[in-house]
Amino acid sequence: MKEFGFSITKDRQIDYDQNDHRLLNFVLENEPSFIVCISCGGCTATCSAGNLIDFNIRKLNILIRRGETEDLEREINKCMLCGKCMLVCPRGINTRNVILKIKEAIQKFR
């Protein structure tokens, strides 16, 4: 392979049809409340870990919905499971269980 001094940039586009949706389906099956998220961001605003570092649980949830799970493990491990997100969620999503299920799914579909 020739070296041209640049590489073909990887697309930032979410290619929904190419993505693997098993993780999402697993989480939805085991914690159905996950589906009613409206991405208000309350969870991220109150998040203890998010207060200390770049950690956006709202965005992670959206990315999971789109099947984008690269880096998910590293990101989700920033969560301290403190539960503030659950207290502020306007839609009553069991956010902590969502996180446990995501962790479980990561392990399952690794």
């Binding site: 392979m1 020739k2 041209f4 001094g5 640049f6 590489s7 073909i8 940039t9």
Partner: protein, 357 residues
């Protein structure tokens, strides 16, 4: 696909194209990389169609690439364009043909600016006067060179020696048409057929017997992107765009790509080589790549011009498979001969892209 729906859109985007007496603006890229194209264009207009066209040695670049690369300021570009209008006026012409889509974008942008901001026009006149002592009229009609070919497509068809038909199967050739972004995406009403379903190239292809394929990433930019290409580290962005298009068109098995923008022709052509070198991928069935032609080259082939005269050997992706399909004879021995009969230096052979030597 409902053709009647497309036809309705095309009817909405008809533009006025002058009949005769044109002042010609060349393209930097086209004359450098595809030198046969503009020659063929002039030959078709004067020789085949008997039109009056002035190819003026005094005009310069439009500065478009410098402008889009944030190097040349708008006022400079505007003054250069004003100078070209002055040259046109001085030579007694009112209709301008622009060979380059980047230039065409520059001209339309400036003309639209002047329309909405007369004070900018006044400034342009002042600058030009100050710099060169010249004055100018705004052209009556500004068209892209592809518009002209589009206008006379049926006349060309009538004179056609070859048609865009696969001689072996009798099927129409499958053609990917690619319009330069600056042709109609900025000002849809300046382009034949508008921005979403442009008709300028499709009209030619259909008139000459081919069939245009409408693949999902049809609208996507070739990736030239000026700054993306000019800075080497950014070329990855540029090539990624072309790659997206090739991936999308591949299943349709196109016989060739035709572009109206010199930049697109160059990048759609040369990035195929780059991708083949970097990833070992080609996008046709046999590893030759998909030939990328300018519309002048396409017209020239239809009119029976010699492929080597047209400069097809200057392309990265070689067109012999296409010539074979169209039944156009060619002499391999003549491929790399100059006008004086010398053989010029042969290009190095690519690693994975197949070429006919």
């Amino acid at each position: 696909m409902k053709t009647e729906g497309k036809k309705r859109v095309w009817e909405d985007y008809q533009k006025e194209i002058a009949e005769d007496h044109y002042y010609f603006q060349r393209s930097c890229i086209r004359q450098n990389f595809f030198p046969g194209s503009e020659t063929a264009f002039l030959k078709i207009l004067t020789g085949e169609l008997g039109r009056d066209i002035m190819d003026d040695p005094h005009h310069t670049t439009c500065t478009g690439i410098g402008y889009h690369a944030d190097i040349v300021p708008f006022d400079t570009t505007m003054t250069v364009v004003a100078r070209h209008f002055a040259l046109m006026t001085e030579n007694g012409y009112e209709n301008m043909i622009i060979s380059c889509v980047t230039s065409f974008g520059i001209y339309t942008e400036i003309l639209e600016t002047w329309k909405h901001f007369p004070e900018v026009l006044a400034r342009a006149r002042r600058y030009l006067k100050k710099a060169t002592g010249r004055e100018f009229n705004i052209p009556k009609n500004v068209t892209h060179a592809s518009d002209i070919i589009y206008k006379f497509k049926d006349q060309i068809a009538a004179k056609a020696k070859y048609r865009l038909i696969n001689q072996q199967t009798g099927e129409p050739l499958k053609v990917v048409e690619h319009i330069g972004c600056h042709y109609s995406k900025m000002f849809p009403s300046w382009g034949v057929g508008g921005a979403e379903f442009p008709y300028v190239l499709q009209g030619m292809v259909e008139s000459w017997g081919g069939e245009v394929i409408d693949y999902p990433e049809r609208r996507h930019c070739c990736g030239f992107g000026f700054r993306q290409y000019i800075v080497r580290a950014n070329r990855g962005y540029s090539v990624a765009n072309s790659k997206k298009k090739f991936e999308s068109m591949k299943p349709y098995k196109p016989d060739f790509v035709v572009c109206n923008c010199p930049g697109c022709t160059m990048f759609m052509d040369k990035w195929q080589y780059t991708i083949s070198e970097m990833e070992g991928k080609t996008y046709d069935e046999y590893g030759f790549g998909i030939p990328v032609l300018t519309y002048e080259e396409m017209a020239g082939l239809v009119l029976g011009y010699d492929p080597w005269e047209l400069g097809l050997q200057m392309h990265q992706v070689q067109s012999e498979p296409l010539l074979d399909k169209m039944g156009i004879p060619y002499d391999p021995a003549e491929k790399y001969k100059t006008a004086s009969g010398k053989t010029f230096r042969l290009p190095a052979e690519p690693t994975s892209l197949k070429v006919c030597v």
